[in-house]
Subunit: 195 residues, 2 copies
């Protein structure tokens, strides 16, 4: 941790990392405090509602960062199918370079909270919608039929979440690489079929 | 719980349900014992290694049951694209009828355990491979090119896991329905393009 970071910022960053690697329930307050090198009093000073409030901010922060990354990656390549495929290959590298510990920063929390924590579920739902919208806007800008972009962007986001889960569980970048390659090819077929 | 079930069976079934709805770390031993109406002594009698051993058996059991279900559903419809789409629609109904509490029985545990519990990670990895193989065999039997069935079956499984996560988080069957519809259509395009 960089010493110039504020106490609050260190806590949020530690929470982001722990929530991504192991989920919400496995992440104890003590682990967050230890990782961010902060005293317990600081937590309740900055986050009076405790772990849930900190987790909500951490997930929202990660979600917005990733949304910006998705939008930048998609904007950098004109062809939507190639852009989506490139994004999957980049994610595969990221997951691999972390020893398959990272990737899918909100997936575990989303599933854990879907039945047990309405506040966190709502934050995750908003993030998923923001990511899906980024894909949909790219498809629309690339001339995909407006009647299909909602469903196609849901498909892309599903593959993103599912293939990341497989890559982490199987400890291999292959699922993300294979899924990205097939998805790129299929998006090209759809574009050709509808033009 | 049916009273004629053995104590051991009641514990495994309770674990299956709790792991599916809220994951591994959120599921306490007391909750499993309460749900299965068994005394604490029974747990260590049947599962000397405790919660981890019980969870491993529960996940493996669920995984085999679902593998059998996938194989039966795929065998019931000759066309692979239609069979896969039908399977997603059936899953969408299941998730919806549970109030979006159920679906993706091993996803949360897979992600939680990917960095923290090697035993559970391995069980989840084996189940994912079994499910993927069921899809691959259907594609091969339906004449999809053998050079592509591994990647295509990885894609199908990714969509299955990811769309279930979205449906549960967004509390809507729509992601599973949309993803299944698009996937069925894409599999048809691939089949036509390679024939």
């Amino acid at each position: 941790m960089c010493s110039e970071l504020s106490t609050r910022e260190r806590m949020v960053r530690a929470a982001c990392e722990l929530l991504e690697t192991q989920g919400y329930h496995a992440t104890g307050l003590n682990e967050i405090l230890q990782r961010s090198d902060t005293p317990r009093g600081s937590l309740y000073y900055y986050f009076p509602e405790g772990k849930e409030e900190l987790a909500a901010e951490a997930i929202e922060r990660q979600g917005r960062l990733i949304e910006a990354g998705i939008r930048a990656d998609l904007a950098a390549v004109e062809n939507a199918a190639a852009a989506v495929q490139g994004l999957f290959f980049k994610l595969a590298q990221h997951v691999e370079s972390s020893g398959c510990r990272m990737g899918g920063p909100i997936t575990a929390v989303a599933l854990e909270s879907s039945t047990t924590n309405e506040r966190l579920r709502q934050v995750c739902a908003q993030i998923y919608d923001a990511w899906r919208t980024a894909f949909e806007e790219k498809l629309l800008a690339s001339g995909y039929p407006a009647t299909e972009t909602a469903a196609l962007s849901t498909l892309i986001l599903s593959v993103l979440e599912g293939a990341t889960t497989l890559s982490r569980t199987l400890r291999s970048a292959l699922p993300l690489q294979q899924a990205g390659e097939q998805l790129g090819r299929l998006l090209t077929l759809v574009r050709d079929a509808s033009s």
